[in-house]
């Protein structure tokens, strides 16, 4: 069986980059703390041997502070990896070794990848690797530069050696001070009569640290629960909880200091770096927010100019050519009419409308990836903290919102990095208002029909409206459903790094391939199903109001009359959007009959809407019920159907209200 290696490290230590370098797999790489929220696995070969690699969430510690930490800790203790590669940011070695210390406490087999040594060297830092290794109890320390694939072979050699080495006995040479050491020994002794699946010293340490889950493990044991001596000891511990906790942290840092003193040399005077210069501008008291707004406006403008104007038409022509080619081929083969109709109207009319927007989606993800990898996102969270605080949230929440711009599913998952339940719940519930990539094609069709000269600006306004509504709802939620104190803002501002092309492209491809997969599966199914609904019952005009689809549309469309788009086709489009937002344009393509090309769809839209009703329809699509995938993610993350249903319902109400407001006020002001 293949050996399993776990990757552990601080946020921003380059852990995910190393994962990608080793496995070559597709995985999202960001530059702000907490991007790796899921357990990622990959496989790779080294010297004709296959290894499993598990990427654990980036954490500062292995306590029970956040879900990320619990995931990482439980995996190391219960998943039994054969060895743990601990990725350490060389420029930040002192803080990173804190985590290493905890790995040693667990008795795990560890290899340290001293990553980003090139950056450390450029800061004139020096390392005595042999001495470091010796002081860490023999743990091998291998210098690496994961982003340039340097040192990986050496790292793997060391890892293989460690796999074959005998297990550490769990005892560490870390002293937490004379008093604590005695307590630790006593407690370990008390625990030894129980039948526990965890290393005793580690459990004892965790209990002294005030870790509730460790205490629970112990009290679940029949023998230990009966021990009066242990009960008395635990009571004593509980009384001094906070002091013990901090003493242990201090003990670990003392150990780190012993390890690094003399083995890690830094120049005494820190050099003023580029990062400081950039930060002076982008975190400026007054300029910070406008700069952030400008950057976002720039992202959307560039997306539009390059993705649509430059590449969009080229792509659309390609799709049209392909459609004609396939239709011609099918006709030549003597295919039945229904198949021709399904392929040209259902597939190319529907799916083609989605595919045409690939250049735009590629651009948006490329630019967002650049921003993420550069390190700017942490600054965005910083400049937003004041605003968010006024709304009862904290700056970090804004990161999950920005991730939501790509897709609400990872957006909702990104709320895991928030520590308080209040922050998490609110951030989850408002995430659907962040306009995801799949909604982009909808706006683009309407922009092409009514506002072709103002594309970038309209997009900016739409996205901003989404943010404003999200913030408004956050304020309302924090004063009604989720009262309580806002959690503290602690955020590392990583140094700016020039994003590597490979990472940005990989990140983009991850998202775009996800989009393509959805286009090939979910959206294909939705489009097919809608096509069937559109041609049944037999004998009616396909895509007509008499078809099943048409009747559904006719039935629900009166609801949207006050918003200005009470026609059944629009209603059908919105209906399909609940399955997948990509299906909205696809469906509009279908129901506006025989549409195969972008231009015809745009013309059909121009005939069916007015500029004002187009605006209210865009507002509706921006805000109304998120797709099924998002709703089910909300269910998974909140662990409650109640909140999932609530999220689906309240977003619909908000979307409807806002659409009606736009249309009614617009009409009142004399727009049409």
């Amino acid at each position: 069986m293949a050996n399993t290696i776990a990757l552990v490290g601080n946020p921003n230590s380059g852990k995910t980059t190393l994962f990608n370098a080793l496995t070559g797999s597709n995985q999202h790489v960001g530059n702000w703390p907490g991007v790796t929220v899921e357990k990622k696995e990959g496989q790779f070969r080294f010297q004709d041997q296959v290894y499993n690699l598990v990427d654990l969430p980036g954490t500062y510690s292995l306590g029970a502070f956040s879900e990320d930490e619990i995931i990482a800790r439980d995996y190391i203790l219960q998943g039994h990896p054969d060895v743990v590669i601990n990725v350490v940011d060389a420029t930040n070695i002192e803080r990173n070794l804190y985590l290493t210390t905890q790995l040693l406490e667990m008795g795990a087999k560890v290899v340290v990848a001293l990553n980003m040594v090139d950056e450390a060297e450029s800061q004139q830092m020096e390392f005595d690797l042999d001495a470091l290794s010796k002081r860490l109890g023999g743990v091998q320390v291998i210098p690496t530069v994961a982003s340039r694939r340097r040192g990986l072979d050496k790292l793997m050699e060391a890892t293989v050696t460690e796999i074959n080495a005998p297990l550490r006995n769990g005892a560490t040479s870390i002293s937490y001070g004379p008093e604590l050491d005695v307590k630790l020994a006593t407690l370990t002794e008390l625990l030894s009569i129980g039948d526990l699946r965890y290393p005793g010293t580690w459990l004892a340490l965790k209990i002294l640290e005030g870790d509730d889950s460790a205490q629970k493990i112990v009290l679940n044991d029949q023998v230990l629960r009966g021990s009066e001596e242990l009960g008395a000891f635990l009571k004593e511990v509980a009384a001094h909880k906070s002091e013990l906790e901090l003493e242990i942290v201090d003990g670990r840092y003392r150990f780190v200091k012993e390890v690094t003193s003399g083995t890690v040399l830094r120049p005494t005077e820190a050099v003023r770096t580029k990062t400081d210069c950039i930060d002076r501008v982008v975190t400026h008291k007054y300029l910070g927010l406008p700069i952030f707004a400008l950057i976002m406006l720039g992202v959307f403008q560039l997306t539009f100019v390059i993705g649509e104007d430059l590449l969009g038409e080229l792509f659309a022509n390609g799709v049209e050519y392909l459609s004609l080619l396939v239709a011609g081929g099918l006709e030549a083969l003597g295919s039945p009419d229904w198949l021709l109709s399904f392929v040209s109207e259902g597939i190319f009319g529907g799916l083609g409308a989605v595919i045409e927007f690939i250049p735009l989606i590629v651009m948006l993800y490329l630019l967002m990836g650049l921003l993420e990898d550069s390190g700017y996102m942490a600054r965005a969270a910083y400049v937003m903290d004041n605003t968010m605080r006024a709304l009862g949230l904290q700056g970090k929440t804004f990161i999950s919102m920005i991730v939501g711009f790509g897709c609400n599913v990872p957006g909702v998952m990104a709320t895991r990095t928030l520590e308080s339940r209040k922050d998490r719940m609110i951030a989850t519930l408002i995430n659907p208002f962040m306009s995801c990539g799949a909604k982009l094609p909808i706006y683009l069709v309407f922009i092409a029909a009514f506002f072709p000269s103002y594309g970038g600006l309209v997009l900016f306004v739409v996205y901003t409206l989404g943010i404003l509504i999200a913030l408004l709802m956050a304020k309302i939620f924090s004063e009604t459903l989720f009262k309580g104190e806002t959690s503290h803002f602690i955020m590392e501002l990583p140094p700016y790094r020039l994003p590597t092309l490979a990472n940005v492209i990989r990140n983009m491809w991850d998202n775009v391939s996800g989009f393509l997969t959805r286009a090939g599966t979910t959206i294909f199914m939705v489009v097919s199903l809608l096509w069937i609904l559109a041609v049944l019952p037999l004998g009616v005009e396909a895509y007509g109001p008499e078809s099943i689809l048409g009747r559904i549309g006719v039935f629900i469309s009166p609801l949207f009359k006050p918003a200005g788009f009470g026609n059944w086709q629009a209603a059908v489009g919105l209906f399909s959007g609940i399955a997948a937002k990509e299906a909205v344009v696809a469906t509009l393509g279908m129901v506006y009959a025989g549409v195969e090309e972008g231009v015809e769809l745009v013309n059909a839209i121009r005939g069916a809407f007015t500029p004002l009703s187009a605006a209210s329809f865009m507002v509706m699509t921006l805000l109304y019920t998120p797709c099924v995938a998002t709703i089910s993610t909300i269910k998974k993350e909140t662990n409650s159907w109640k909140w999932a249903v609530f999220a689906a319902g309240y977003t619909f109400s908000v979307g409807w209200l806002m659409a009606v407001l736009v249309f009614q006020v617009g009409t009142f002001l004399g727009f049409s």
Partner: protein, 75 residues
């Protein structure tokens, strides 16, 4: 030696952390990020919103609320 809340320091000031009184979880998190007793910090930015300090070669932004609860001896 003066003990001030971190929020009371000016840009460019340096100091050592003497104690944190921010409640269990937050205090521990700060400790684990390296703000334990005796840690040397330098204030980079303190005008509006979170305070930015350097800790070792790290740059960390701390909410004002937290910065009020971290006592520092100015050097």
């Amino acid at each position: 030696m003066d003990r001030l809340p971190l929020a009371g320091l000016n840009e460019g000031d340096q100091g050592k952390v003497t104690s944190i009184i921010a409640g269990g979880q937050a205090t521990k998190r700060l400790y684990e990020m390296g703000f334990n007793t005796g840690a040397k910090i330098k204030v980079i930015k303190n005008d509006r919103g979170p305070i930015i300090v350097t800790l070792g070669s790290n740059k960390i932004a701390l909410g004002r609320g937290l910065a009020e609860k971290m006592l520092v001896s100015k050097e």
